[in-house]
Symmetry: C2
DNA sequence: CATTTGACTAATTAATTTAAAAAGTCAGGA
DNA sequence: TCCTGACTTTTTAAATTAATTAGTCAAATG
């Protein structure tokens, strides 16, 4: 009888993989390296995960779920409409920065985005995100603070703008391997600017 | 004494190159092909342009100048604030679609963006664009239609949002070689949605 | 029986070489 | 001055090879 269960072991592996992936990216991390970090053999890794894709998927699932939940958390905790939007923007940028090397949701993502399981997961989480942002808008619409706009459509527009600024800055200005701290600061500032106008745009007069 | 001047010949060459470039991109167009289109020898081409880069630069200069001027034109012609913004958005998308294969202003642009001459040209035109959009905002601010916002900053935010939506849609949804007509329609719709909120956001109550 | 492993093969990826295509030159002609 | 065919040089693409990494399995351990 081992001291750790299968589930615990899998969690340990995911944790170790996550460290490597976020530092060096998925492609530049080998299964042997992850095994070495845990002081086990590579073959053992394959006892817990059928292949690398499955492990990557588990890691991605962890990150993405955290990403969405964290946004939901700060949004539901927020006192007024605008600060809620500012907060989710900050969460988004922090996650993007932290897991930059994995290029999640990016064009040439490290994660195999064509994998149907990953697609389903991603779509589900995106839908959830859209839902609670729409709910946030609905909340302040009901209180009369916002105009009676289409909540889902407006939530989608907000997300589009934030994603757009992110991708725009990363792709246009980022030439080096790893973007500078100040680039992320610049993105934050631009997002704040956009959000400010966005919020004014849907406030009732 | 030839029937066409050097300048006219250069224009003809630029015109022929433009056709090839916009259809197949710069990289997939050879100097020989351009020469063939004009029924002249490749060596003649090199009599009018020192190298391919110079020709590409001329073509790029033409397109970009048109791009900026067309925006300025529709903006100055516009009767009310919002329709002016909608119009420049349409101009931007039309140009982006027309010259898609050249990937102007893109990450891996066909045009050598590191070329100092191109950089200078691009920066100049960007500055000009920013100026007349800011002037448009100023115009309707003076008339009391808009809030007293920082015009340059607000103009930049608008451009960022439009560029962001463009890049976002192209990079995230476009996998095939050439994007579909409906993708550009989708981009137009999204831009309209954003502009609507943007305008409401800076209107005085 | 559940778990681990070293030693193995198969598949990918990176590096190197080779062949093809395209850029760019030039002496000479109209 | 303007144009060209024939040429050289440079770049890009294809093919070959070498190296790395993913993934397997029979045997071992506890």
């Amino acid at each position: 009888m081992s001291s750790t269960s299968v589930d615990q072991k899998q969690e340990q592996i995911v944790e170790a993989a996550l460290k490597r992936f976020s530092h060096f990216g998925v492609a530049k991390t080998t299964m042997s390296e992850i095994a070495e970090d845990l002081s086990i053999s590579k073959a053992s890794l394959y006892y817990y995960f059928p292949d690398k894709t499955a492990l990557v998927l588990s890691v991605g699932e962890n990150i993405l779920t955290d990403f969405i939940n964290e946004q939901q958390f700060v949004l539901e905790k927020s006192k007024d409409f605008e600060s809620g939007i500012y907060d989710i923007s900050d969460v988004r940028i922090s996650f993007g920065q932290k897991y930059f090397m994995m290029h999640i949701g990016d064009v040439q993502s490290d994660i195999n985005t064509s994998d149907p399981k990953f697609k389903v997961l991603l779509e589900g989480l995106k839908a959830k995100e859209l839902q609670f942002i729409a709910a946030h808008i609905q909340r302040f619409q009901d209180s009369g603070f916002l105009k009676p706009v289409n909540t889902l459509e407006t939530a989608q527009v907000l997300i589009d703008m934030l994603v757009g600024i992110w991708i725009c800055e990363i792709h246009v200005h980022h030439k080096s391997l790893f973007p500078s701290e100040q680039l992320f600061e610049k993105i934050k500032t631009k997002c704040k600017c956009v959000i400010s106008i966005f919020c004014d745009g849907i406030k009732s007069n």
